[in-house]
Symmetry: C2
Subunit: 233 residues, 2 copies
């Protein structure tokens, strides 16, 4: 299969999102053209990988000129489904839940938090950023009323699976899971786990090999060359 | 260079952390052996990639038997520097900062939050999880006293760079950045950006193609046709 026909590998989607974030910053700064080297560096990828990733969109840039920032931004927006204003419910309104309610990165990427659920009766009825916290029993009604298809789980690990089962039964097809536990869902439901501890662990690893960017890059290139023939990640 | 000698590519490190998380769950469940297929699937990687990733550690498993869970867990722990109890300071004690202070994923992965800083005078002196919030002016002293080399930034975007400059000047070499802005640092300092909005965007992308390569495939074909007529970049 050619890149244009094959589904985009998950690791590539993650990088496309990073490229889009960089392009948005460049566009805001009034930059109209960007080279693959510049874009790759700003996104923490390498140029060979970036060109391979963008080839999934049929974008190849122009040698010596690079990519048109606005055009590539629009292509990525369309592919990643930004600007859809997708309704999202947050289950678990502790510190993390509250931090996410008004997360600018949500609205700027086409998401709208439309509902909050927390099992603590003391929180029921509390207003957070213009939303009223609903009690545990109101979860199904809230999802039906808001038409949310995506949920963010910031509950304790012990109740996350039970919450997940109710979300799935209510029609949620995408779950961003911050609870430190693995969730089992039907094959039509997508779960993305955010593990803040692992982010710190990855950072710490790189701190232990400081200034090895050059060798890291060469390792990358070796890898992407080998991967040219291999299955997409 | 052989894989064992070369620095591990960034994308591989991220997957190694995922493998370790799965192995830890398996060990807790009393599982002693795991096949590359099982481990790869649980970590959301593919078997070929997993075998290549683990080859960086010199771990090749045994055909037909798979990997020894405990042994591989120890190898990954050592490579990723877990169990070091690295001191971490958190700058910005809003909802997100508070959510991170007692994040179980931090301690379980060898990190210890040793200090909290917030510019809001109203918060100075407040106790959070046994730590006393230090005012903005106390940042340098705190880092010197705790010997922290890693910092987590959860400040507003506007002040993140200024905070970063002071952290770097104080000897911080690793920064986990939650502020929605790019940070510039010297080459000896590692920054890892956590963009919660992008996590949601990646999830949404996968939701739009719920496990079905077909709908994605047709999306590709439509898009390739459009691009056939599009102006070259």
């Amino acid at each position: 299969m050619s890149d244009a026909e094959s589904p985009i590998p998950g690791a590539t989607v993650a990088r496309l999102v990073d490229y889009l974030a960089v392009l948005t910053r460049l566009a805001d700064a009034g930059v109209s053209k960007v080279s693959s080297n510049e874009l790759a560096e700003a996104a923490g990828a390498n140029p060979a990988q970036l060109r391979k990733d963008l080839s999934h969109l049929g974008s190849y840039g122009t040698r010596g000129v690079g990519y048109d920032v606005s055009y590539l931004q629009i292509q990525l927006d369309q592919h990643l489904g930004a600007g859809l204003d997708l309704p999202v419910v947050i289950v678990g309104v502790g510190n993390l839940g509250r931090a996410l309610v008004n997360h600018t990165g949500f609205s700027s990427r086409g998401f709208k938090v439309v509902g909050l659920v927390d099992a603590d009766p003391a929180l029921t009825g509390e207003q957070v950023e213009g939303l009223t916290i609903v009690g545990d029993a109101g979860l199904e009604t809230l999802i039906a009323r808001t038409g949310a298809t995506i949920a963010v789980i910031t509950t304790p690990a012990e109740v996350a699976q039970q919450v997940t089962d109710r979300l799935v039964a209510s029609g949620i097809i995408g779950i961003l899971n911050f609870a430190p536990t693995a969730l089992s869902v039907p094959s039509n439901v997508t779960v993305r786990k955010v593990d803040l501890g692992s982010e710190l662990q990855i950072l710490a690893y790189h701190c232990r090999v400081p200034g090895s960017k050059d060798s890291l890059l060469s390792a990358w290139n070796e890898q992407s060359n080998e991967l040219a023939g291999a299955d997409p990640l």
